[in-house]
């Protein structure tokens, strides 16, 4: 495949293709919009170009990180390397002692423009990031840059400088820490970006582009989620819970406008000589959806469980009446940990320590369902929606289908969300299809599938 080094049009087309390959849906019309934007903005201004592409092509924040990586590859910053640090003439990045470089970095971490930070990062990659990979070829690495400068170890001296004897451990320190941590992350990003650029120059943009872009947040598998992703997911889950609550409510409300308000209608008709032109209705009585959540909190689905607990917590805030139950091989009510207004992080910790969900530590759906029917069957009623979250893997124990059937028959509606890919259902100890015959089961591995599920409820 030829390198997209030719005209601007080639580069534009290559960029759009790479975005699509990375999972950003760019329609033809949007590609044309972007091309149109190119005609009216100053192409030499790189940030303006980036903003123009973002405005026309990226319509969802989840796609933004991937977009930025690809943009930096297709439209790299000026490739000046060592000569770049002009903003501060006091040090020469090519020859300066490590100590001086670290001092300079410490200064940049507390206050710097993007430009200064980027230029310094480029110079540092040039100096520390290179490793010979054979005659005439070289590899570039960010970790060697980070190891040489180790920005994390700068914190102590920065704090000493900035606080200057003020009390430690308080607000001032916290604020500086936050500021420096943000600075370190920006520096890391700048280094990683420059390393990618150099690799792209050596071996071609397409090759690096494929491995450099992580999937967008809403397509990350719940079962393979990292801690950092979870924090960001939390923000995505709240609106979804609100939406789910609204969906379950609206469904009930449609087609019911409330009863005719006779007095109000007659009063209004006086204006038009006794003809009741405008009819007034009493506001419909609000429907109070009730929700019972049953979630698998075993280790095999621990990341998913973490997510489902988040969802539970968010739903708890939206619904008037939510009862949540966690199970591994026996079941316990966990509603009490999620009081509205309580702190979610704390609730999770308490939950892990106090709830009684584990007897032998191996998931047993059948046993859990039986216990649930015994102890908490009164939680279900004709107004209740039942939401089961789990992978339906029961360690070859009897599934207790009849129990589930009788439970479901008492509810208004029931749904099952399964975090495993559909292909893996019914393999090994999974009894997904059997449960699926009783409760409609949906694959729910990421936020976009959860969103889709909520939309189908309407």
């Amino acid at each position: 495949m030829p390198e997209p080094r030719g005209s601007l049009v080639d580069r534009h087309v290559g960029f759009v293709h790479a975005l699509r390959a990375a999972g950003v849906p760019v329609s033809v019309a949007e590609g044309l919009d972007a091309a149109g934007a190119m005609r009216v903005i100053e192409l030499a201004d790189r940030e303006s170009l980036r903003a123009a592409y973002a405005a026309t092509l990226v319509k969802k924040p989840a796609y933004r990180p991937g977009f930025d990586v690809l943009f930096d590859l297709w439209f790299p910053a000026s490739t000046t390397g060592l000569a770049a640090v002009r903003t501060d003439s006091r040090i020469d990045p090519a020859t300066a002692e490590l100590k001086e470089l670290r001092e300079h970095l410490a200064g940049l971490l507390t206050s710097s423009t993007d430009q200064e930070l980027r230029e310094f990062a480029q110079a540092m990659v040039e100096r520390f990031g290179r490793q010979e990979a054979g005659p005439g070829r070289q590899n570039w690495f960010s970790y060697s840059v980070m190891r040489a400068l180790s920005p994390e170890t700068l914190m102590a001296s920065i704090l000493r400088n900035v606080l200057q004897g003020r009390e430690r451990g308080g607000l001032a320190e916290k604020t500086v820490r936050q500021q420096v941590n943000t600075g370190i992350r920006r520096f890391e990003d700048a280094v990683a970006t420059d390393v990618r650029r150099r690799i792209a120059e050596e071996s071609g943009i397409e090759r690096i582009a494929r491995s450099a872009v992580r999937p967008p947040l809403d397509q990350i598998d719940f079962l393979r989620i990292t801690k950092a992703d979870l924090a960001r997911l939390r923000r995505e889950v709240y609106p979804l819970a609100r939406r789910l609550a609204a969906r379950l409510t609206i469904k009930h409300r449609k087609g019911r406008r409330g009863r005719l308000d006779f007095r109000k209608t007659m009063r209004a008709s006086l204006q038009s000589g006794g003809v009741p032109l405008t009819t007034h209705f009493k506001p419909p009585r609000p429907h109070k959806p009730e929700l019972v959540i049953l979630c698998d909190t075993s280790d095999s689905v621990s990341s998913f469980a973490h997510f489902t607990l988040l969802l539970t917590y968010a739903l708890r805030e939206q619904f008037t009446k939510v009862r949540a139950f966690g199970f591994v091989d026996t079941v316990d009510e966990i509603t009490r940990f999620f009081l509205p207004g309580s702190d979610v992080v704390e609730a999770m910790t308490r939950l892990a320590n106090e709830a009684d969900m584990v007897r032998f530590g191996r998931t047993n759906y059948g046993h859990s369902l039986e216990r649930f029917a015994e102890r908490y069957a009164d939680a279900l009623g004709p107004k209740t929606s039942l939401l089961i979250l789990g992978d339906a893997r029961s360690n070859y124990q009897p599934p207790a289908l009849d129990v589930l059937k009788s439970l479901v028959s008492r509810t208004r509606s029931a749904y099952w969300l399964n975090p495993e890919p559909r292909q893996q259902w019914d393999t090994g100890d999974s009894v997904a299809s059997e449960y699926g015959t009783v409760v409609p089961m949906s694959e729910c591995r990421n936020v976009s599938q959860l969103t889709a599920f909520i939309e189908t409820l309407a």
């Binding site: 903003a51 924040p61 607000l171 916290k174 038009s272 032109l277 309580s342």
Partner: protein
């Protein structure tokens, strides 16, 4: 409307709206390409304010459609004045045409389409409206026209500058997004927030504004239920000014935290993480 993104930055700053590269470029492109601009982001980062600032700096009339659940055509687009129509029928015996301009009640969308002067149409909190309203908007946003069965199609005499805002409580449809330019406004960097505070609260010392912006950034980094918005930072600045505080120390923060944090659990969390004394 605008010459360049830099021109946008300058003119918005003149009406006290401090923009950044992304905002200026998007605002400029929306004008240059004649496309609606969809602005998303957390509550209180200045999405609505942006539309107001654009209207102010271009001398355009601002027409605002506030969306909510249950918003319908009659409230968004147009309505027939039934009472007047009925009275006309009763008053005159001849079969007068009662579907004319005279009986048409203009609602924000139609008003924006028919306006002669420059107009900024703000469709606020689009995500709050039902999906059907999006359908209603599609014709307007792609062709800048609306169709009234009894009167025919009314095309815009002069294209309004359209800004849609959304808090992203639900995903807007692909069709709608495709027709719009997209701008995601995040919380500003501490540097920009300091400048915003200084622009909004004259009389505040620059140093205190800096401290304020940094502290708010720290608060936002905590896992809070509701992170402080820019508007709340400005409120905080005003509070400090009113109280005559010169320094943002622990006691001051603890005493005035209610201005920026609106949940009891957020208060507890902030107090614990920042080591504040009991207020």
């Amino acid at each position: 409307m605008f010459d360049s993104p830099a021109d946008v930055t300058e003119r918005l700053a003149a009406v006290d709206y401090l923009s950044d590269d992304a905002i200026s470029t998007s605002v400029f492109l929306a004008a240059a390409l004649g496309k609606p601009l969809l602005v998303e982001g957390p509550a209180g980062v200045g999405k609505t304010q942006l539309a107001k600032a654009v209207a102010m700096t271009t001398g355009a009339e601002l027409i605002r459609l506030q969306c909510y659940e249950g918003l319908d055509e009659a409230r968004a687009l147009y309505e027939w004045n039934y009472k007047k129509q009925l009275l006309r029928i009763q008053a005159t015996s001849d079969d007068d045409d009662i579907f004319t301009e005279e009986f048409l009640l203009e609602r924000p969308l139609l008003k924006a389409i028919r306006a002669d002067g420059p107009t900024v149409l703000l469709i606020d909190e689009t995500d709050k409206a039902d999906v059907e309203v999006e359908g209603l908007l599609l014709e307007l946003l792609s062709d800048f026209q609306v169709t009234i069965p009894e009167l025919g199609t009314i095309a815009a005499t002069r294209r309004p500058y359209v800004v849609l805002t959304s808090n992203a409580t639900r995903e807007l449809s692909e069709a709608l997004k495709r027709r719009c330019l997209y701008l995601h406004i995040e919380y500003p960097t501490p540097e920009r927030e300091r400048d915003i505070v200084l622009a909004q609260v004259p009389g505040l010392r620059a140093e205190l504004a800096e401290q304020l912006a940094r502290t708010v950034a720290t608060l936002r980094a905590l896992e809070l239920k509701k992170a402080p918005s820019v508007a709340e930072t400005v409120d905080w600045a005003n509070t400090l000014l009113a109280l005559g505080r010169e320094e943002l120390d622990e006691a001051t923060v603890a005493g005035t935290l209610g201005v920026v944090l609106k949940h009891a659990s957020d208060h507890e969390r902030a107090a614990k993480e920042l080591g504040l004394p009991d207020a």
